[in-house]
Amino acid sequence: MFPTIQLGPLSIQTPGFVYLAGFWLGSTLSEKWGSQPSSSTKNIYNLVFTSFVAGFLGARLSYIGSTPQWFLKNPQAAVSLNSTLLDPVGGILIALLAGLIFSHKNDMLNRDTLDSLTPLLAVLNLSLGISHLASGKAYGSMTDLPWGIYLWGASRHPTQIFEIFFGFLGLFVTWYMTHRSHPESGEVFASFLITASMGHLITAGFRSETSYLLWGIRIEQLVAYAILAFGLWFFAYVRGNPGSDS
């Protein structure tokens, strides 16, 4: 496990570095694999960049909103690069909102945009597994099976390796679908949703520490199942309604 990378006196958090690298690589692949004219590619780049900046600012603003008194006493902390003063949920919500507003303003609320963003999503999905492997989080339950790995004091299911495997599978499916001749608009996104959700549904079954609902059913698996059902429905919808819906 390598939760941090030490560069002289500088200590870099590996998960954060992996997500940033994934963001850069995913954005590049979204530009390269897209079959759209260069003007649309530029719009996709602007959409991703706008959402990223809005998400970062939103994460800090959301945090400030939760403890305004402390920030009034320490105003300089509002602009610090301290990652512990970020609210990830608030950041994601504001990034999605900014993305929706940007797409609406630029007439991009359509299935082609989802397809163009899919390589970025696929790389970020792969980054999740790599970051878990680096930090040792999301570890598996104990097992006697021969492919168990010794981690945190026991032989465990290699859930981080499973995640990375399904991450690569999702990326491969995305590559295959984008390089097919004349894919239906929305097919790339739907295929990725199905592959990624199936991967998470299977992997979460081997996890040691997760949140439970009634009867020990894991919340992560239920969310993945809902996304799988939506992905299958969306795939059928795309096939039944070919062409862009812009």
Binding site: S11, W152, I217, Y225
Partner: protein, 186 residues
């Protein structure tokens, strides 16, 4: 032809959803079993490894003695700038929550620090929580330390709830992670 493809797709979708539902049921967890098979390791969701050390004021402490209280274990050194910067915020958390049972153990990496600098820093910043001294590097090894500072939030059952690698960790962040642990068992 199209009808056959549609039919195959529907069958495939039903099979996939059916497999998913069965998999969720088959792999459902037994929370009691999970809590009974906890082992100690420096990772979230597992038992915090126990250690016994002497503090700066000469007392002997063991982590296990604080079972039943929420514990914040901070690994630090006096030469580490983010460690120095976050100490006043940790002191503030101690003053704010000590009545609710919060225990803070700021384990100094004494094997790679200067004891006089540690004493000077503690006095200058009026730190009132225990400062266990890791003179052999035992705790660093036990907790698989990669970076200073690293902070472990340990709940009343001795389970690591959250690990924060790096810093400086500011008061709102400390408060946020403590809140759930302080509420438990009250």
């Amino acid at each position: 032809m199209k009808a056959t493809i549609d039919k195959n797709r529907i069958i495939f979708s039903i099979l996939l959803l059916g497999f998913g539902a069965i998999w969720i049921w088959v792999t459902r967890a037994n929370p009691d079993e999970v809590s009974q098979t906890r082992i100690s390791a420096p990772q979230e969701g597992l038992l915090a490894p126990d250690f016994s050390l002497s503090t700066l004021d000469g007392k002997e402490i063991s982590l296990v003695d604080y079972r039943g209280s929420p514990v914040l274990v901070n690994l630090w050194a006096s030469w580490c700038p983010p460690c120095r910067k976050e100490m006043p915020d940790i002191q503030k958390a101690y003053e704010t929550y000590t009545e609710q049972g919060l225990v803070i153990l700021a384990v100094n990496a004494t094997h790679e620090d200067n004891l006089n600098s540690v004493k000077e820093f503690v006095e200058k910043n009026n730190l009132t929580f225990p400062i266990p001294l890791d003179t052999t590097g035992e705790v660093n090894r036990l907790y698989n330390l990669h970076s200073l500072p690293t902070t472990y939030f340990i709940n009343r059952n001795g389970i690591i709830e959250k690990i924060i690698i790096g810093g400086p960790m500011r008061f709102p962040a400390i408060e946020k992670h403590l809140n759930g642990m302080l509420e438990e068992g009250q």
